[in-house]
Amino acid sequence: MKPVWIIAKATILENGRKHVFHVLCLLILAVLVGSTLLSIFTEGVKIKMLKDLCMTGILFGGAVLAIALGSSGIPGDVESRTIYPIIARPVTRMQYVAGKYLGTLLTVVYGLAAMGAIFGVLIFAFEGGPDWSLALVMLFAILEVAVVAAVATTMSVFATPATASVLTFMVFVAGSIKIGYFGEMLSKMQGGAAKLTMGVFYHLVPNLECFNIKSVLVHQEVVPVAYLIQVLAYGVICSALVLLIGATRFSAKEV
């Protein structure tokens, strides 16, 4: 684990200096601040819209950040040749990929944590008190970002950074509408090759929609604990599986 953590630390320091990180954090901040300018509405609507818009901004911004950083990490190291002295060490390729992923994820988590803290302050200011459900919603937002970062890291092993970004974004979009759109489509299909193909595609695409428990924050809905635990387990297994695919491929790749 020690090489993983060392590589992760270097990756965090590297990502924290990238323009894309600062620009996206500023954009998310702009959405948060902009959402407070809804003073023309009644209190109930204003707070609901504030929470809706801010959470959407944080979720989408976090995903874009994970895609941007995750798809450029490993190819960037290969192109800049900073990878050679590292993999010449007793560091396995799997440890290297795990370290790059962990570094990317933690960078995004730092960004989201900062945005979440600002969001929490805004909610405190508007509602006159804290809303602790924000912590739970942010946790699952981070879990969603973890899956997206794993997909981006794995895609970057197979493709160039630009292609990996596009493919990961497509997976993000597909995963965000998996239940509502693809699930409905699958349930209406007649049996046969088409349904089988759709079924395989359905299960291959990560289910990102299940991590969105924004309704807990916006509509004060109660989400069953069993659901939360299962989604947590699903997120961890999904991230691990996707990352394992990328790490296995990278182990065999010639650098």
Binding site: I6, T82, Y84, I87, A88, R89, P90
Partner: protein, 302 residues
């Protein structure tokens, strides 16, 4: 003991396609422990591919590579290597101390020992005064020295250095040569790839020459150079009859105004001298020359 052994190593890029190219062809090489081993070859000879295979950056198409008896891809082998790439690149925002400390940690140095080992490695590389300056502010030569420091920080038994003096000024090159000699005295094995043949000639105990993926020569530098030294005689008043005799004796003549430069092997120097004496020639200079490593390299690699 053999520090590095390559047995029947072949590397073919894009096999089974039209663009198939064999970069290394059935290479057998043994690097004894405790020597400085020079690895030479023209561009495209297969040196970089060989080094990449040793470091497990790429897989050989066939053959085996062992480092101190362990397969090259085993952690037990990799933990004994220190590698300096050609034109090393590190994260620009890090300082030399941070880079070397990071690599010490990756090499398995204990947490408590890292600061002392990193500082010692930086000191040996001769860049102590730049230890805390970000790499973005350092020159190419200083970055090269950082690369040397990170290669030695783990106290590896085998150092693989690709163009270690590239970008260094003469003082830096001298410092590096002294460092390599010192490392050899400490019992380390140095596998050195360089285009600066004078350095190879001075430093290396064993030299291997590659050409188009094949090993064409391997041995001490003296064995690589052509065996027989040559004698060059500068003589004046050499008449035409003497010229024929000299050529018959196996010498080559080069006219230069009022003198001849006569080159002969040591075996034929006596008949040549006799011919010159008989003709009444005046000898103004005699030199014994051996083929330099560069000349040997050009001969072998051409």
């Amino acid at each position: 003991m053999i520090a590095l052994r390559l047995s029947g190593v072949t590397k073919t890029y894009n096999p089974r396609t039209r663009k198939s190219r064999t970069a290394v062809d059935s290479l057998d090489l043994e690097v004894p422990q405790g020597v400085i081993f020079g690895f030479l070859g023209p561009n495209g000879a297969g040196k970089t591919s060989t080094i990449k295979m040793v470091l497990d950056f790429i897989k050989p198409t066939s053959g085996t590579i062992e480092i101190f008896g362990h397969p090259c891809n085993a952690p037990s082998a990799r933990s004994q290597i220190g590698y300096l790439p050609e034109q090393p690149y590190f994260h620009r925002f890090l300082t030399p101390l941070e880079v070397v400390s990071m690599h010490a940690s990756l090499a398995g140095v204990g947490k408590g020992e890292i600061p002392a080992r990193a500082e010692a490695a930086i000191d040996r590389a001769g860049i102590s005064e730049y230890a805390k300056i970000p790499l973005s502010k350092l020159s190419k030569g200083l970055t090269q020295r950082v690369g040397i420091a990170q290669a030695i920080v783990g106290e590896p038994r085998l150092l693989i250095l690709d163009e270690p003096t590239s970008g260094l000024d003469p003082l830096g090159r001298r410092h590096t040569r002294d460092l390599l000699s010192q490392l050899k005295r400490e019992g380390k094995t140095v596998f050195l790839s360089s285009h600066i043949l004078s350095e190879i000639e001075d430093l290396c105990d064993v030299v291997a020459v590659m050409r188009r993926g094949e090993l064409v020569a391997c041995g001490p530098p003296d064995h690589i150079r052509s065996e027989a030294p040559q004698v060059t005689i500068r003589a004046q008043r050499v008449d035409e009859s003497a010229v024929e005799s000299l050529r018959f004796a196996g010498a080559t003549l080069q006219a230069g105004g009022d003198y001849y430069l006569i080159t002969a092997s040591c075996d034929s120097v006596y008949p040549v001298m006799s011919a010159l004496e008989r003709s009444g020639a005046v000898i103004s200079d005699i030199n014994t020359e051996r083929e330099s490593l560069e000349e040997a390299f050009l001969r072998l690699a051409a």
